[in-house]
Amino acid sequence: MLEIDGISKVYKVGTFGGKELYAVSSVSFDIKDGEVVSLIGESGSGKTTIGKMILRLISISAGKIVFNGIDISNLKGGAMKEYYRRVQGVFQDPFSSYNPIFKADRVFRFIREEFFPEITMPEWNDKIDRSLRAVGLNPDQMLDKFPHQLSGGQLQRFLVARALLLDVQFLVADEIISMLDASTRIDVLNLLADLKTRGLSILFITHDLSLANYISEKAVILYRGCVAEMGAVEKIFDYPVHPYTQMLMVSVPRLDRKWDKGANVEKATPTLGPISGCVYYDRCPLAFDKCKERPMPVEVEKDHSVACWKAS
């Protein structure tokens, strides 16, 4: 459904924009129909940047994104609108996605004005009704309310319902539950998993490994804008190969096991300019000479690729 082929995002930084910061560097992966792919990485790893590039909120510096056979990087006007009919995003902070002085269902009205001007009002209300029920909300209690009258979990589900009004096939869910409380976040997560059964593909961006493991089949681990490891979730979680992934797995706070002593903390902030060697070089316990060249993801077994010279 969606193929990401060697995309990069370069920002000009420094005085007069003389230096380049590679936020994302040659990342490739694909997402199939009805698949949930988790994009996992720490802050600054470029995971949100990838999400924004897919949604065309920012331009793509290099590489291309292909959606159902069409390269989206140069879409304009009507074609762009068609694309947004199929691809939508939901973001981290549900409270700032709404204008607090208007009622929350205004987000639905925009969709109608923009995409369905020909639909009659009763039909439209019926459509809203169905999509709200699909996200587990009761329309009678939810409509005609201001954002502050609804909880974070409800607002977040509202936004998913908004996306469902369109004929979405692909949803970018960027940290959508990190602002929610433990008691409500699991409901939103279950909702995403249910939508999958309706044929929706989801890119689930998160920094929480246990959440990724809970709902997705495939995971992509990012570190400083590069793919460290990707493949089937069970393989990555049970047999991580990349030293970074291994370190992540032992650092996750678990409820069934206590930590071993010792943490691997970052020693320096990232350097500017094109990425030449392995990005994990300065923290890696296994680093050797070869690591000054940049490794690209190589398949080590079926559905499991790793970008590490030691692994290949």
Binding site: S43, S183, H207, S251, P253
Partner: protein, 322 residues
């Protein structure tokens, strides 16, 4: 007992009345105990933490008593608390990463901070360097500006700053929420190390992430809607919770290894009550699966086993029958 809190009640004053953010909090903290304080956002955990050190308006002290090392704390008195703050009680605030002055080098800022408490940095330097070593920061950090450090490094620097004068009580407010897993682990392990090395005596760790508490806390206090729900040792809270809210909360947490396709986790239906004129009685009652008539009265926070406190009528009843 390092810290004794009795019936501490703090409201927020608003134009529409009092928001009852913390009501009748009663608990003790032993020497060297690391207590986790957990609950949903808006349950009063940060209010409880802050009321022990700085009661800023619109927070209003309503009643209660706080005793630290057998000394009564004048928590209602902004000025009177000055002799305790930083020396005896210290806090690592939420978003501590942005707490440092961006126009000062870190060493300069530390010097000014110490001088304000009449400590000369020269004499303190060896100890400061030792502590930087504890949090794995190079000594050159002192010659850097905050902008030169990453989030995790800033967080660790603020930990050093907060504990410079060996406070008896350290309050760590959501110190891990903005960090990635490796930094999270580093920061909380250092918190334990600080306790072991005597840089602080007892610690209250405020967080919504129970899996972090499971790793480091000796005991966990669960709050719900401004009331204490349950306090017990970490193992007991995780394995044998008694309060229905704690039970539901623990069972809703996804752990590594649980998959949607194999097991559906459940959330808690409903949402917490508004704390502006809340209903009398147990505040969890409307979401509680086992609520009954008695729950319209407020349950006391009672020790049902040694070190295990619960505020639930059903629990008292089953206990009385045994």
């Amino acid at each position: 007992m390092t810290l004794q809190v009795e019936n501490l009640t703090v409201y927020y004053q608003t134009l529409r009345g009092d928001v009852r953010a913390l009501e009748n909090a009663t608990f003790n903290l032993a020497d060297g105990e690391i207590m986790g304080l957990a609950g949903e956002s808006g349950c009063g955990k940060t209010t409880l933490g802050h009321s022990l050190i700085i009661l800023r308006p619109p927070m209003r002290f309503v009643g209660g008593q706080v005793t630290l090392d057998n000394e009564k704390l004048p928590v209602w008195d902004m000025e009177g608390m000055n002799s305790f703050r930083f020396k005896k009680i210290s806090i690592i605030p939420q978003y501590a990463m942005n707490a440092m002055n961006p126009t000062r080098k870190i060493g300069k800022m530390t010097e000014e901070l110490l001088r304000s408490r009449k400590v000369e940095i020269k004499a303190y330097m060896p100890e400061l360097k030792r502590r930087l070593g504890l949090v794995k920061l190079p000594h050159e950090t002192l010659n850097m500006y905050p902008i030169e450090l990453s989030g995790g490094m800033k967080q660790r620097m603020v930990m050093v700053l907060s504990t410079l004068l060996n406070p008896t009580l350290l309050i760590a407010d959501e110190i891990t929420s903005a960090l990635d897993v490796a930094s999270q682990k580093a920061v909380v392990e250092m918190l334990v190390e600080f306790r072991n090395q005597g840089c602080c005596n007892s610690t209250i760790v405020i967080t919504h992430d129970i899996s972090i508490l499971y790793q480091i806390a000796d005991s966990i206090l669960i709050m719900y809607a401004g009331q204490l729900a349950e306090k017990a040792s970490t193992e007991v809270i995780m394995r044998a919770p008694r309060h229905p809210y704690t039970k539901l909360l623990i069972s809703s947490l996804p752990t590594v290894g649980v998959k949607y396709s194999e097991r559906h986790l459940k959330g808690i239906p409903g949402s917490p009550p508004l704390l502006l004129n809340p209903t009398i009685g147990c505040r969890f009652r409307e979401r509680c699966p086992i609520a009954y008539e008695k729950c319209t009265e407020e349950p006391p926070f009672v020790e049902i086993e040694k070190g295990h406190f619960v505020a639930c009528w059903k629990e008292f009843k089953t206990n009385a029958r045994d």
